[in-house]
Symmetry: C2
Subunit: 193 residues, 2 copies
């Protein structure tokens, strides 16, 4: 039996990300679940942020942003980052910040993976701005990067230990690997389905 | 130490979804990881699909689509759905299909959660189309829906047992709940961070 629960943000799972931007010369970070993949080649992602947020100002100013994926052991500081505004506190003091070639997309050393992005499209959804960004560079901790030159062919997801956000206002960790994409459907079981 | 691995689709975790559309009068479904939240009120999500995909044609025709979240025990049929085109096979036979008020967004009974969406914006990213949709209704299996009228205040994520996709072409299941949003950062540990 299905229950109609009305319009709801029942999208899951969501990544927990720290979106970074340079605002008035200072790095700032916003905690978001509004992130996902849009295109593989060239790799393209998005962050969706409240129009009034401090980070939004920096993205608009420079046309760049970063997406930083905290691991589970950064849950407290990631959550804390979502409770305060960069207008009131200097969040850059909470992290070791580094920059890449774009120079205006501050990234977080403590996060095992950071994406450096250039805005290619902005969509206004009322009070929210969706910044669609081409991923121009990916920075990965050496010990989780996998084979040289093949970043996504082998990834140690257990070491990445990503912080996941789900409906019910819940943080979760990632569970076990159970299968391979574009493969499971080829099995005999699929033929018999 | 950070390693630069070049531009890559290093976005994680991704949901595995079956995007549904009515194409030439027949329900069709495409398996995607390109889905996420964009806005909470009104709830808004997106799917990003290859311009040439069969499902894309149906979304363009009717301006509606569905997002169906399979559970782990639907991994084989979900993966299979991504290996075939609706031009060649009738995927509607693989599922028990139902419709909501929009009438043109076919949904999958076997999936514990389905979103019924109306396109409010379309963004063209070369060969990919990003369909941004307002979620007009959510259909949830009765046994995972939580309290009446409060669909996301209590959600049994363990029963939903979502199928997650990660870099490395890997399906994962969701792990344990480890914290609460907008709360963990308020603890004493945060103050000491």
């Amino acid at each position: 039996m299905k229950r109609k629960v009305g319009p709801a943000m029942f999208v899951y799972p969501m990544p927990t990300v720290l979106a970074g931007a340079l605002v008035d010369g200072r790095p700032n970070f916003a905690t978001l679940g509004n992130n996902g993949l849009m295109r593989v080649k060239p790799p393209t992602t998005y962050v969706s942020i409240h129009e009034g947020h401090h980070t939004t100002k920096g993205i608009r100013e420079h046309g760049t942003f970063s997406v930083n994926y905290p691991s589970v052991n950064q849950m407290v500081v990631a959550d804390r980052c979502g409770l305060a505004s960069g207008r009131d506190v200097d969040k850059s003091e909470w992290f070791d910040v580094f920059y890449g070639g774009l120079e205006t997309a501050p990234m977080i050393s403590e996060c095992p993976v950071s994406l450096e992005c250039r805005v290619i499209e902005t969509v206004s959804l009322g009070h929210m701005s969706v910044f669609i960004g081409e991923i121009v560079e990916v920075y990965v901790d050496e010990d989780v990067a996998g084979e040289e030159g093949r970043p996504t062919s082998y990834v140690d997801m257990e070491r990445l230990d990503p912080l996941i956000y789900c409906p019910g206002n819940a943080y979760h960790r990632l569970g076990e690997r159970i299968g391979t994409g574009f493969h499971e459907g080829k099995t005999e079981a699929a033929g018999a389905a």
